[in-house]
């Protein structure tokens, strides 16, 4: 017993070093998935407040860019208005829908909610975005995030009262189900941790005809994103020997360098689907 104490006293520094390293590595491993410790919530609130102050100032310098992106988003929306389409009278007859708009609310599946970006990073291997809206603003874990022009940015992994943390596409654990617009094959998007704005699409078989510039959209198989949201365009196609899949480099449609405002997409039916999935998994 005495020897143990002597040993501890003699190598106290080294042991402390090992313990601290062990704690750090435990943090890394544990937070590879979701981190939801009480302390995580507290530190989110604190760092969120500081980030918020900073982005308040930074926002003034980006107002022009923000305006431009809003105008182009508006342009797309205006072009989708029904007023712009006129069909020749002989083909169809116009029927005015007598149902009140309110009454179709129960069929609504996705709701958009805006949020301001408080902090963002692209240089780390695991990039997170902080939004200055949290559970008090109806944000929940698992909601999908798109930028002002409806391009996929990431998913919420953690919410505190006033802030939420988004795992951006530029994160090694981010897995998003994606689809080729032209042929409809689905694959998985992940990031190799190297170049920002370039993500990898895997799981597309070598038999598929694919060319540079093809659009990649969300598949709609997961509950986070509606079907057909823009993810990016094919930048390069690589074949690996010994694999029957392509390795496709995709340039993301969202520019992660200058995110200012984003929208969170709430899936009203997501909970129902997830509940059933959980039940099915339990039965196995």
């Amino acid at each position: 017993m005495r020897n143990i104490f002597l040993f501890i006293r003699r190598y106290f520094n080294f042991l402390l070093f090992l313990v601290l390293q062990f704690i750090s590595i435990y943090f890394i491993i544990r937070t590879s998935r979701y981190h939801e410790a009480a302390f995580g919530n507290f530190s989110n609130q604190v760092t969120g407040k500081i980030n918020d102050r900073y982005s308040n100032i930074e926002n003034y310098f980006q107002l022009k860019k923000t305006n431009d992106s809003l105008i182009s988003a508006n342009e797309i929306l205006y072009n989708k208005l029904k007023l712009n389409f006129e069909l020749p009278d002989t083909v169809t007859k116009m029927v005015i829908d007598s149902i009140r708009v309110d009454s179709i609310l129960q069929y609504r599946k996705f709701t958009y909610m805006n949020a301001r970006v408080a902090a963002n990073s692209v240089t780390a291997q695991n990039n997170f975005i902080v939004l200055s809206r949290g559970s008090a603003g109806n944000f929940r874990k698992g909601m999908g995030i798109v930028d002002a022009s409806n391009a996929v940015v990431g998913t919420i992994t953690d919410v505190s009262e006033d802030y939420s943390v988004v795992m951006s596409l530029l994160h090694k654990d981010s897995r998003i189900s994606a689809k080729l617009l032209k042929t409809g094959e689905t694959g998985t998007l992940n990031w190799d941790g190297k170049e920002p704005n370039i993500i990898t699409l895997s799981g597309i078989g070598k038999g598929v005809k694919i060319s540079k510039g093809d659009s990649i959209i969300t598949s709609g198989f997961s509950t986070t994103f509606p079907k057909g949201m823009m993810i990016g365009k094919v930048e390069g196609i690589y074949t690996e020997s010994g694999s029957s899949f392509f390795k496709i480099k995709v340039r993301s449609a969202a520019n992660f360098y200058n995110l200012q405002y984003v929208y969170a997409i709430d899936n009203a039916q997501g909970e129902e689907i997830n509940k059933m999935l959980d039940k099915a998994k339990k039965q196995l």
């Binding site: 601290l20 704690i23 750090s24 590595i25 937070t31 692209v122 240089t123 291997q125 997170f128 943390v165």
Partner: protein, 177 residues
């Protein structure tokens, strides 16, 4: 200014500068500029090693809180805090110099070359351990190696600039010890 106030001031300044200035600079995907760990390099000679490591742990954890993925910088900071006394023992010019001066600097280590070795080796170790932990999941050895070298070069440059801009008053303590 008391040592405690000075160090708290340095701590917050380094963290804020790292988070809001250096992290916003996108030089190149291979280069991540770091300066915050200079806080550890500047800590006094005669500080207890356990306290040194605990301070490094807090520093790393604070930066990690801003990055929302605790662990990476914490581990790297604790490692360089552990190695710092060894480096000083190797580089200290003559017996007792660590008693004459308070903290490591160009003057107290006896010239620019020992100081560069001191800062260079520790920032290399910091970056290597940090990127190794991050790269574990990617496993591309060349990418890791080049990234470490380039980032270390930028770190040393930043440290030199900081040393030039902020001249620290080096009190020469009478060697009654």
């Amino acid at each position: 200014m008391s040592d405690l106030v000075k160090n708290i001031f340095r701590f917050s300044l380094f963290i804020l500068f790292q988070v809001f200035v250096l992290d916003k600079i996108h030089l190149h995907q291979m280069i991540t500029p770091y300066i915050y760990f200079l806080f550890i390099l500047w800590l006094p000679f005669n500080m207890n090693r356990s306290i040194l490591m605990i301070l490094a742990f807090i520093l790393g954890f604070t930066l990690d809180s801003f990055r929302h993925h605790p662990g990476f910088h914490t581990a790297a900071c604790v490692l360089i805090a552990y190695l710092k006394p060894f480096m000083i023992n190797l580089l200290i010019p003559q017996e007792g110099s660590d008693n004459n001066y308070e903290e490591p600097s160009v003057k107290s280590l006896g010239g620019i070359i020992p100081y560069l070795i001191y800062a260079g080796v520790l920032s290399f170790v910091h970056n290597a351990w940090l990127f190794l932990l991050e790269a574990w999941q990617f496993g591309d050895i060349w990418y890791f190696f080049i990234k470490t070298l380039l980032s270390t070069a930028v770190c040393i440059l930043l440290i030199l600039i900081t040393e030039l801009i902020f001249t620290r008053k080096q009190r020469f303590r009478t060697n009654t010890v």
